[in-house]
Every structure is written in structure tokens, then in C-alpha cells.
């Protein structure tokens, strides 16, 4: 493998890892704070991708405006969904949460099939991000992928700033480490839940929208992302944003380089990584001992 190829694969790994981080951070926060295991989280990624497919003809060149509009819609959707559905799951045990969110996936997938059909659709790359730039003598790298990584980095930094530097973030961190104490201190936990959930949905949908021009949109795209995000959360440790970031990048590298070196069995690479972590640190890289 020459240096140019290596560099391209590294960029791909980082880009994939960062995208996973957007989805997994919401998943880990929702579990860490509300104690809900949400199988439907992958559906929000799928919904985001289909939103990009539906909205891109309307917005044309205005890709960033489309992303902003999509994020607002997803956040509102998440807010309503928390109020109408998820707020009833907090008192239930994990088994019931698994089954009810599983039912929700079936509903989302079928609605998707009714509204858009089961075909694979491409989503155009915005014209100002089309094309690629040269990397070394032979390789080139698409501008859009670089944009996707940059957007994810900006979002990750923003998330870090909100969680570590604001009052809301303080409540989120407190909620993730001790839910009952936060409730006891008189913080409006229901409002906090609703905000965190809406933010998680918005992040997952944004990841879907950013991914859509690269991956196209197809049925069951949510499920594969969901399972990989579970792997990320297990490796990183539940409730830890930093853990999710480290784990996402690890998974990104293992998956991308697995495809290069062991194409046929690349699908199992990340699961072997998870097995190693389970042997070494069952609570996850950044998780607390239980």
C-alpha cells in the first residue's frame, strides 16, 4: 500500500467514524440520561437520509440551508415523539423498551416504504462541493467527503462545548452520572429529557442527511447503522461522549482497513474489536465500573 492510498483510507476512516459518532452520541446520551434503550435510533438516521432525498430538489444549491431546515424539522419531530411515545417508556423495563421501540422501527420502515417505495435513490452532491482534489500523484479525494468530515468535526466540537461549558450541559452530565440526584435537586427533568431526546434525533438525522449523497438512500439503512452504533457504545462506555468519540474513530479505522486487507470477512472486524474490549474492559473504554 503506497502512501497516497494509505492517506485516502485514513481520511475515509475518520469520515466514517465521525459520522458514526453523530448517531452514537445521541444514543449513548439517551441511554445514559433517560435509561431508555432505543432500537429506533437508527430509524432517525434513515429518516434524515430520506429527508435529504426529499428536500434536495427543493433547495437546489442551498445545501447548508437544507441541512439547517432538516435539523429543525428533526428536532421538532424528536420533541413531539418524546412527548407522545418515549416518555411512557421510562418506567418500563428494558425488555419492554426493546420490544416497543422494535415495533416503532417496523412502523417507520413501512411508512418509508409507503411514502418513498423500496428503491435505492441517489442524492446529488451539491454543485459547489462536486469534484475532487489531487492527493499525491495518482490519488484524488472528493471534496464532499472532506466537507462531511469537517462538518462532523464542527458538530463534535459544538457538542463538546455545549456539554462541558454550558448550564444545560452541566445538567446533562449530572443526569448521566446520577439521574435521581438531579431530580432531587429540583431540576425539571422532563424538560431536560425532552431536549436531550430532540437533540439526539436531530444529530442522528443530520448524520443521515450528510451521509445521503455518499451512500445513497435505501431500505433498512437504519438497522445497520444502529447495530454498529451499539458496538460503538459498548466499546466507548455508556453515557460517555468522549468514549463514543474514541470508539467511533476506532470502529471507523477497523472497518475501513478491514475492507482493504480482508475484504471477504470485513463485516466481522468491528465485532472482533468489541470482543477484545469486552475481555479487556467489559465496562467500555470510558465507562464506569458497575
Amino acid at each position: 500500500m503506497d502512501f497516497g492510498t494509505f492517506l485516502v483510507q485514513c481520511l475515509n476512516s475518520v469520515q466514517y467514524g465521525l459520522l458514526l459518532f453523530l448517531v452514537a452520541s445521541g444514543l449513548t446520551l439517551i441511554f445514559g440520561i433517560m435509561g431508555v434503550i432505543n432500537l429506533a435510533h437508527g430509524s432517525f438516521y434513515m429518516i434524515g437520509a430520506y429527508m435529504a432525498f426529499a428536500l434536495s430538489p427543493l433547495f437546489g444549491d442551498q445545501f447548508l440551508v437544507m441541512l439547517a431546515a432538516g435539523v429543525v424539522m428533526a428536532a421538532v419531530f424528536g420533541y413531539v415523539l418524546e412527548w407522545a411515545f418515549f416518555s411512557y417508556l421510562y418506567q418500563r423495563d428494558h425488555l419492554q423498551q426493546v420490544l416497543m421501540t422494535y415495533g416503532l422501527i417496523l412502523v417507520f420502515e413501512e411508512l418509508r416504504s409507503i411514502l418513498v417505495g423500496n428503491d435505492v435513490h441517489g442524492v446529488p452532491v451539491p454543485p459547489w462541493l462536486a469534484g475532487s482534489f489531487a492527493l499525491g500523484d495518482l490519488m484524488s479525494y472528493p471534496w464532499y467527503r472532506l466537507f462531511a468530515s469537517a462538518a462532523c468535526v464542527v458538530l463534535a466540537l459544538g457538542l463538546y462545548a455545549v456539554v462541558n461549558r454550558t448550564k444545560l450541559g452541566m445538567m446533562i452530565r449530572a443526569g448521566a452520572s446520577n439521574r435521581d440526584m438531579v431530580r432531587g435537586l429540583g431540576i425539571d427533568i422532563r424538560r431536560l429529557y425532552r431536549i436531550v431526546f430532540a437533540a439526539g434525533v436531530a444529530l442522528a438525522a443530520l448524520a443521515g442527511m450528510i451521509a445521503a449523497p455518499m451512500s445513497s438512500v435505501y431500505p433498512n439503512m437504519g438497522a445497520s447503522v444502529l447495530i454498529i452504533c451499539f458496538v460503538v457504545v459498548v466499546i466507548g462506555g455508556i453515557g460517555s461522549i468522549t468514549g463514543a468519540l474514541v470508539a467511533s474513530l476506532l470502529v471507523g479505522f477497523v472497518d475501513t482497513f478491514g475492507k482493504v486487507f480482508f475484504a471477504e470477512i470485513s463485516g466481522i472486524g468491528v465485532y472482533l474489536l468489541m470482543a477484545i474490549i469486552l475481555i479487556w474492559r467489559p465496562e467500555g473504554l470510558m465507562g464506569r465500573k458497575t
Partner: protein
């Protein structure tokens, strides 16, 4: 899961052995009167009952929620087809091989995933099942995403699975044996220890029980029984594909045991039957009209409503209607 101490101590004792035995005898007598469609549906429901029973050992009896149980079912099915060759294999040998294959993977998965608990356990079992899925989906061992066909159905002397009547009785016998085995386990010291782990793991550990070993034993046994169900489903369908290991299958079997009633053996059987019928109804045009094309939507809503309203399953509903029958 709220359970009274008496039922918690002996989960396998949900009702006398008389009723399951009578149901088995009635099924055996009714077998010849069922038409081809009825017999086929019945075989399907009985195989799924074995599958659901195997998960009941984990979820209902031990309190381990696994979202990857379809992996063992699928591995059992693949082992049966791969070991059959073009000549067809011996039913008993294939059954044992399938169980051994599934138990082997369950040993690895269980040893790793039992290092975690609660929601981690759910995620890890799902992830390892997906790994097995990819092995059959991406590599040539299992014919890739199209799966592979069984040339000749397994047989053992007169027990030839090519014969539909024989298949009916073989599956019925396997179901009865599985049910009886789990009922015995429920009454045994081992079963009591599993129930203790479900109710209060800390206390069992403090009492000196090797909790990890007990849980791993339950996990491996559950995997082996799922492998048996897989062997039977491969013999019935004559074809296997990676979707057998898919996570929808794991979700559905979990749904079956909560639909019937968690912690009761008959709950697994009732749930498997009810779920199969529900799916059949929701996807039949004559029953629900044009909604049949969108059975996933109605099934999804049905799941949500059902779990929301009846967390204790159909058995819980029966108990609510006539409290005298409370187990």
C-alpha cells in the same frame, strides 16, 4: 418483572404437567385430520415454540434479555444443511450436530457477553448475532446472501422427514421433549438457582453460588435448544439463508415470549402460536383487505399497543379475567 416469591422459586412449575401432556396427546391424535395447509402451519408453530422455549430459559427463567438468539437458530439450520451433503444425512446425527454447533457459538458468545449486564448484554448479544449473520452473508461457506438448498431431507430409518406426516410427529416429539426438559430444569436445583439469579443476583453471589457459571450453562443450553429448532426448520423449509440469523428474527422470538407470558413455559408456546397467527392474519388479504400489503405497519402498531397494555402477556390477561386461574 414482579413475581411472587413462590412462583419465583419454581418458574417451571407454571401449572400442572397434566395440561401440556393433554395438549400433546390431542395434537398427536389430531395430526392425521389436519389438511396439508393446517399440518404445515402446525409444524411451523411447533418449531417456533421450541425456539421460543429455548429463549424462555434465558429471559423468563434466568432474567437475561438476549437480542441475538436467532444466531443459534440460524447456525443450527446451516449446520443441518451443510452436514447433509447431497445424499441427505441421518436425522439424529444432524440434530445433535446442529445442537453442538449452536452450543459452541453460544459458549463463545455467552462467555464474552455475560461479562456485561443489563442493557450492555442486550447490545452485545445483538452485535455477536450480527457477526454470525455477516459470516454467512459475506463468505462462501453458506452460499452468501442467497443461502443454500437442502438436497435431501434428513432421515433416520423410518423417520424420513421427506414424509410430511413423519415430520409432524418428529417435530411434535421434539417439542414435547424440550418442554419436558425445561419443566424438569425448572423444578431442579439448577432451575432454582437460575430463578434466584433472576430475582437477586447479588444475593446469590453472596450465598456462594458461581453465578457466572450458572448463567453460562443456561446460555449454552438455550443456544443448543435453539439449534435444535434450527435443524427442524431447515428440514421443513429445505433451504436456509442468512435472514434466519437476522435481528428481526431475534426480535420476533423475544416478542413471542412476552406475548405469551414471561417466565412460564406455556407462555412461550402460546406466544409462538399467537404470534404466528397474528402475522398470518395481518398479511392475509381476505382478513384485513389492502392493509395486508402493509402488514409491517399493523404488526408494529400491534406490538406497541400489546406491550403497552399487556406487559404480562396473554397468560396475564387470562389471570386478570378469571383470577382463580392465576398460576
Amino acid at each position: 418483572m414482579t413475581t411472587t416469591p413462590s412462583s419465583a422459586a419454581r418458574p417451571g412449575l407454571a401449572g400442572p404437567a397434566l395440561i401440556p401432556a393433554l395438549v400433546a396427546i390431542a395434537l398427536a391424535l389430531a395430526g392425521p385430520t389436519l389438511g396439508p395447509y393446517g399440518a404445515d402451519l402446525m409444524v411451523k408453530m411447533m418449531i417456533l415454540s421450541i425456539f421460543a422455549l429455548s429463549l424462555q430459559l434465558l429471559v423468563g427463567m434466568t432474567g437475561l434479555v438476549s437480542l441475538g438468539h436467532a444466531a443459534f437458530y440460524g447456525i443450527g439450520a446451516y449446520v443441518t444443511v451443510l452436514a447433509s451433503g447431497s445424499e441427505g444425512g441421518n436425522l439424529l446425527v444432524l440434530g445433535l450436530l446442529s445442537m453442538a454447533g449452536a452450543a459452541g457459538y453460544a459458549l463463545v458468545v455467552g462467555a464474552l457477553s455475560l461479562r456485561t449486564r443489563g442493557v450492555y448484554f442486550i447490545m452485545v448479544t445483538l452485535a455477536f448475532a450480527q457477526m454470525a449473520y455477516f459470516v454467512f452473508h459475506d463468505t462462501p461457506v453458506g452460499g452468501g446472501s442467497d443461502g443454500i438448498y437442502l438436497y435431501v431431507r434428513p432421515a433416520a430409518g423410518a423417520l424420513d422427514m421427506e414424509n410430511r406426516t413423519v415430520m409432524f410427529y418428529v417435530v411434535l416429539a421434539a417439542l414435547a421433549a424440550t418442554y419436558a426438559l425445561l419443566a424438569l430444569i425448572g423444578r431442579s436445583r439448577f432451575g432454582a438457582a437460575l430463578a434466584g439469579i433472576r430475582v437477586n443476583e447479588q444475593r446469590m453471589r453472596a450465598a456462594g453460588f458461581p453465578v457466572y457459571g450458572y448463567k453460562l450453562a443456561a446460555f449454552v443450553l438455550a443456544g443448543a435448544l435453539a439449534g435444535l429448532a434450527g435443524c427442524l426448520v431447515a428440514s421443513r423449509d429445505g433451504v436456509v439463508n442468512p435472514e434466519l440469523l437476522g435481528w428481526h428474527n431475534s426480535g420476533e422470538v423475544l416478542l413471542m415470549i412476552i406475548l405469551g407470558g414471561l417466565g412460564h413455559l406455556r407462555g412461550a408456546v402460546i406466544g409462538a402460536v399467537a404470534f404466528t397467527l397474528l402475522k398470518e392474519v395481518l398479511s392475509t388479504h381476505a382478513m384485513v383487505g389492502p392493509l395486508a400489503n402493509h402488514w409491517q405497519l399493523t404488526l408494529g402498531i400491534a406490538i406497541i399497543v400489546f406491550v403497552a397494555l399487556l406487559p404480562r402477556g396473554l397468560i396475564g390477561l387470562a389471570a386478570r379475567i378469571s383470577p382463580r386461574n392465576t398460576p
